[in-house]
Structures are given as C-alpha cells and as structure tokens.
C-alpha cells in the first residue's frame, strides 16, 4: 500500500492551492496527483433516444391505474413501506400460526400520499401514530402490548382487516424507545421476526421501536 498524498497536495486537488504555492519538495507529487485526477473522463453522457418514450409509456400506465402501487426498489426505510413476510411456523402442540410481522409506518416527510396509510403527527403532544400489523389467520384475538401501554393485554387490540388473516391497529406512541410484542389469543406472545429483538429476560424476545418526532424508525 503506497503512502497517501500529502495534505497540501490534497488541498491542491481540492482547488484550494495552486501548484506554485506548494513547497518545492511537494511539487512533483502535486503534479502527479493532478495527472491522476485529470485522467477522469468528463465527457457528457447521452442516453438512448428511446428513453423518453419508455418513461412516458410507464407514466401513462401509472396515471391510468386506479390504485397507486408502492415502488419497492426505493427501499428506503423512510418511505412508507409495507412488509409482509410469511414464514410458516409450527407451534408445538398447537395450531400452525403463520409468523407475525409488525408493520411500522415510517413516514419521514409529513404529507406523503403514497402507501396504504399515512402516518400523521398527532396534534398537541410529542407522539407519532404507528400502525402495527400482524398476519395471523388462525387467531381469534390479537393485541399488542408494550412499554407504551404497560404491557396491558387489553389496551390495544388489533382488528381484522378483511378476511385475509391480517390484523391491524394504529397507536399514538410517545417519543422514545419502546419494546413490544403481540399477544395472540390472550396467551401466545409473538415478537416481530423482522424487527430487532431483545431478550425480555423471561426466555422470550421483545421487539424494539424508536419513535422520534419525525416518525417511527425501524427500531
């Protein structure tokens, strides 16, 4: 590994010094550095002429479709994002319950219109609406309990969303770090397999979410 450039030579490259301003013993190094950076190709790049048509074709399709679709290639966690992962799990001696997945709406920019449900900032207090989602088709009752509701099983029941086996609820969580888990049928505690999990000290895992005044962060 060769030695890096002298800091003054780097300033030369940054345009903060001229070659003449370098001490004589550094000028050769400076000239070398300029040659290196000078080798960069600055030719403008022109894309294929068909690009306009391709873009507009897609744009027209999107405009025509009745429901807005989420684009997943921009998987920035700051976008409103729906993640449903189905991981079949067999509970010993019990009904098979598909693995749970918590959906946390991670809205960074208020006023975003894309996605299943916008997260709004609650008016007066420092809290943010966060939506929880669990896929549990075999369940009869689902709730979410955590540090934000003193682990009260009855405080935050989820409601079925249609017949797909999806349960959801939206809660206003105060700013801060919270731990939570889902409770299925009043007794089965399910953590979010996709969320950071922390040992609850009792042999199970809790999920973590950090709520800031700009939205909920995946934990």
């Amino acid at each position: 590994m060769s030695l890096g450039y002298h800091p003054l030579v780097k300033q030369l490259l940054d345009g903060e010094l001229s070659l003449a301003e370098l001490p004589p013993e550094l000028r050769a190094e400076g000239a070398e550095a300029l040659r290196l950076v000078g080798a960069v190709d600055r030719a403008p790049v022109v894309l294929s002429p068909a690009l306009d048509d391709r873009v507009m074709a897609v744009v027209r399709r999107h405009a025509a479709s009745r429901t807005r679709r989420a684009w997943h290639w921009l998987t920035s966690p700051r976008d409103v994002e729906l993640r449903l992962r189905l991981r079949p799990a067999v509970w010993a001696g019990a009904l098979a319950v598909a693995a749970g997945m918590a959906l946390l709406l991670l809205a960074r920019a208020p006023g975003t219109t894309l996605g299943p449900a916008p997260v709004a900032r609650s008016g007066a207090h420092d809290s943010v609406f966060v939506r929880f989602v669990l896929y549990a088709p075999g369940a009869r009752h689902v709730a979410v309990a955590g540090t934000f509701n003193q682990w009260d099983l009855n405080a935050a029941p989820l409601a079925r969303a249609g017949t797909s086996g999806v349960w959801t609820t939206t809660l206003a969580l105060p700013v801060g770090q919270h731990q939570y888990a889902f409770v299925v049928d009043g007794e089965r505690w399910v953590a979010d397999p996709a969320a950071p999990a922390i040992d609850d000290g009792f042999g199970r895992r809790n999920s973590m979410v950090a709520v800031t005044s700009r939205g909920a962060h995946t934990l």
Binding site: V37, R204, A210
Partner: protein, 226 residues
C-alpha cells in the same frame, strides 16, 4: 466520602416514598411476593443512583406475561445488575452523573450483547451534538439486529467521525434491516451501510445548482490539463 454520606442521607428520606410508589404501581399487577421483592431491589438500585423505572416496567411486563414469581424476580434482579454495570461503564466513558436515559441505553446495550468496554467507548465517542443515550440506543438496536458487537461499535463511531447527523445515526438500524430483509446477514448489511448514502428524502430539495451551470463552477486552478 462526604458526598456519599449526603447521598445516603438524602436517599434515606426519599426511599420510603419511592418504595411506596413502586408498590402502588405494582399493586394488582404482580403477586404480593413479587411486589415485595421488586420494592427491595428498586430501593437498592435507587440507593446507588440507578433509575428504577425500568425495574418496575420489567416487573409489570413479567406480570402481564404471567411469568412465575421466581423467574420474574430473577429477571428484575438481573436487570438491576445490568443497570449497575451500565452506570459504571457510562461513568468510565466520562459522564460524571449520567441521566437515567443514558444508563438505560447502556443497559440495553449490555442486554444486546455489547461489552461494558464498548459501552464506555461509545459514551466517549458521543461528544455534542450526539446524545449518548441516542448513540447507545442505536448501538443496542444494531446489536439486537445481529450485527456483531465490534462491527456495531465501528459502524456507529464511524458515522460520528464522519459527521453524520443524529438522524442519520438513527437511521442506521433501518438501513441494516433493509439489507437483512433483502437477504444479507446482519454483518454483511452493516458492511454496506454507509454514511450519507441517499437518505435525504425527496420532497426536501436543497438549494440546487445544476451541474455545468454552477455559478461558482469551481474547477481547481489549472488542474486537469492532460
């Protein structure tokens, strides 16, 4: 030594009140023997200047989860131990009188697998504007996601050194999680998580100057003449 005596004196009057408060919060949520035990543990913790809220919350959690009394008490005691360990580690990192927030963050870190040494190191790295509680929480979350402890610390410290904003710091777990969701291991995802990699959201454009039309179109003086 004087301050220690002052502390114990101050606490000896405050402790009965606090014990009452703990008792009230646990009443009806845990079995009586658990309540008594947790009151003791909390009193002890308070006497050492440690936050007691996490202990009460953990007890309530155990009650809701119907954890057997013995196990519940053991867990609360273990948490108290971690809080104490965190307190030491945070002070070793240079914070004279840490807030409850920071101590809890440190305890979270320890729970997630960071060593006390790493907790101290993270505190040391958290000069303004970085809130040590935030730094510790982010690190704890990364470790909880499965990023190896050493890598966690490097990632967090790297972002701090690079001048990433607290928001960027807070976004690290999400970045790692996105990587994991796409099939990387936590360690791999953490490798690829950079700083400032496109986490400025659309809708808030900076003052934009188009390339090639920059008013201060600054090419270094005499530079790239081949």
């Amino acid at each position: 030594m004087k301050s220690f005596l002052a502390l114990t004196f101050a606490l000896s009057t405050a402790l009965p009140l606090m014990a009452q408060d703990v008792g009230a919060r646990l009443d009806g949520r845990v079995q009586p023997e658990v309540r008594r035990a947790v009151q003791e543990i909390a009193a002890d913790a308070a006497a050492h200047g440690l936050p007691t809220d996490p202990l009460v919350e953990k007890a309530i959690e155990g009650g809701a989860k119907r954890v057997p009394a013995e196990r519940l008490i053991a867990a609360v005691r273990a948490l108290a131990g971690r809080l104490a360990g965190a307190w030491d580690a945070v002070r070793a990192g240079g914070l004279e009188s840490p807030t409850a927030d920071v101590v809890e963050g440190g305890a979270d870190g320890l729970s997630a697998g960071l060593t006390a040494g790493y907790v101290s190191e993270l505190v040391r790295a958290s000069r303004a504007p970085y809130d040590p509680a935030l730094v510790l929480r982010v690190a704890a979350t990364l470790a909880a996601l499965g990023v190896p402890p050493k890598q966690t610390v490097q990632l967090v410290e790297g972002m701090i050194k690079d001048g990433g904003s607290p928001s960027e710091l807070l976004g690290l777990p999400g970045e790692v999680q996105a990587g994991v969701a796409d099939g990387a291991t936590p360690a791999q995802a953490a490798e690829h998580v950079g700083h400032g990699n496109g986490n400025v959201p659309p809708g808030r454009p900076p003052d934009f100057v188009p390339p090639g039309q920059a008013k201060s179109h600054k090419h270094p003086a005499n530079p790239h003449k081949p």
